[in-house]
Symmetry: C2
Subunit: 319 residues, 2 copies
């Protein structure tokens, strides 16, 4: 009876609440993968969420000369893990796919297999982490191949507010990606509220000027409880304002402090974007497998979901 | 994978969120009953809730000489409607049972049938609406029969803060009902926040003195958009402070005003009872079948659930 994830994403009166996760490392035995999935779902038992986001982790070392704080490890095929999580949880899943490493023919085969063998419907395509290194398939060409493919998918795109902060054109990329078939967006982890507010505002204004209905933007938040996790966030390209960095590192309870910061950031975004009619959503992830960070991400989830639901209910009462 | 209603009620870190409803009137054809149930569930599509509460409406005219604002009508057996709603929604249901009209033998048969034919597990027993009129089975005797019955049920009780306001002993009734097997309580509709705060406070203090863990108290809220609904609430024994009454009746948007009042009342209760460790919950009902009141009850549900969830998440962050 419940709405599907696609229905929720497309209904602006609804909130959308996701949990982001990474597949176990490549070579993990099948039983162990199932055990890891069950453990994750067991921890999520106490919250209500609409679906899971399964990332496709790539070696992004071409993007930066700084060493990766946590060593890069190949993972189990995100589709395997998506199918498993979907079977075990009976929830919808969104599967990320990094497209640059293989050509268009292999990508087409991948799409057929994803639909027929894995029965996955929700995809987010990710381009190359940098313009360095060999790109066998560009993101626009991948979107094009997908739109011409006989299997139909419900397609989301990635959005990075930090790109907007430096280049001021991320809102145009959202419009391009929409023309290329994206029906919603998932952000990189938010620690810089202003960059996100600027992006949402520019996107809403451009949509209005062009008479378009804005797509939903699902904001990713993640707790951060240690200097190493913070370094990793910065390595990933997440912008953390200087004051925020010190607030986390100088706190005796860094994790809880980061949860408070995320909540303040969400409140600020909701207030600043209240007049814009861009439907938002939440995606909460834990960047590490440390038990405390996973527990904190569940607390963060409850706090941010309730904050967003209250905001939506208040809007409905006022309308 | 989700927690059952019983598990949620018994876990103080969880909120519990219910929708209260009345079975269709007696004599309604089976197809029509299914249609009514589907229509209700269709309207609840857009919210997440843990279960449904199905009332057992009785002719309470022995309680008062004031004429009932909406005429009393017998309904379909609440068990029929509970089973139907449970089948259609795949959610847990709580079924009310008014016990005074029949003797203990019939009550025992009713319990057997409820378990074996209807497979219902969650019951709330209701006593006679007044000490006038013939009582064939008292509430304590019904609790006793249930505890000795071979079928086991997860039992809730009714609590009426208005009785606490007049007699100052409702908290003792909660302790008695707990000794008689009740594992949670559902209140009458709350419009008098102070009466509810007084009751919860007295109950928490008594539990502490006796070394008992307080049971969950699920607070019922209902929107009120007209003078007639207000009269009906008062007829049912719901205490509405004078100022609240005029705030609703003098407003140009009575329904929305009543939703705002309910939210203020819940906030006041959450603030005033934050230090008490009594787990709370919500039960939202619409007292009439008017479309606007049902829509308002869905808005009310979203608003109050988000308010309570935020309160719980904040508590967890602080702990």
């Amino acid at each position: 009876m419940a709405l599907s994830l696609q229905q929720k994403i497309q209904d602006p009166t609804q909130g959308v609440y996701l949990i982001g996760t990474t597949p176990p490392k490549m070579g993990t035995e099948k039983d162990k993968v199932t055990e890891i999935a069950n453990k994750l779902l067991g921890r999520l038992h106490e919250i209500e969420y609409d679906g899971l986001v399964i990332y496709d982790i790539q070696d992004e070392s071409s993007r930066t000369s700084v060493p990766r704080p946590f060593p890069f490890k190949h993972t189990v095929d995100p589709r395997e893990y998506s199918l498993l999580l979907s079977d075990l949880s009976k929830l919808d899943v969104i599967t990320y796919k990094s497209v640059a490493q293989r050509g268009v023919k292999e990508f087409n085969n991948w799409l057929t297999e994803t639909k027929e063998k894995y029965a996955l419907n929700n995809l987010v395509l990710v381009g190359s982490p940098s313009s360095e290194g060999e790109i066998k398939l560009s993101l626009p060409n991948a979107y094009n191949a997908l739109s011409e493919h006989h299997s139909k998918f419900f397609l989301g795109g990635v959005t990075i507010a930090e790109r907007h902060a430096s280049k001021r054109n991320e809102h145009e990329r959202l419009l391009e990606k929409t023309a290329q078939g994206c029906e919603y967006f998932i952000s990189q982890a938010v620690y810089d509220a202003q960059a996100t507010i600027d992006l949402i505002t520019s996107y809403a204004r451009s949509c209005k000027q062009q008479g378009l209905t804005p797509n939903r933007i699902i904001l990713t938040f993640t707790p951060c409880g240690s200097e190493k996790t913070l370094e990793f966030m910065q390595w990933l390209g997440i912008s953390v304002p200087e004051a925020t960095k010190w607030r986390i590192l100088d706190s005796e309870q860094s994790l809880n402090e980061s949860v408070r910061i995320c909540r303040e950031n969400l409140n600020l975004i909701l207030q600043s974007c209240a007049h814009l009619d861009v439907p938002l959503g939440l995606n909460i992830e834990s960047l590490t497998n440390r038990k405390e960070e996973i527990d904190a991400s569940i607390n963060l989830y409850r706090l941010l979901k309730a904050t967003m639901e209250l905001n939506l209910a208040e809007k409905q009462l006022a309308s």
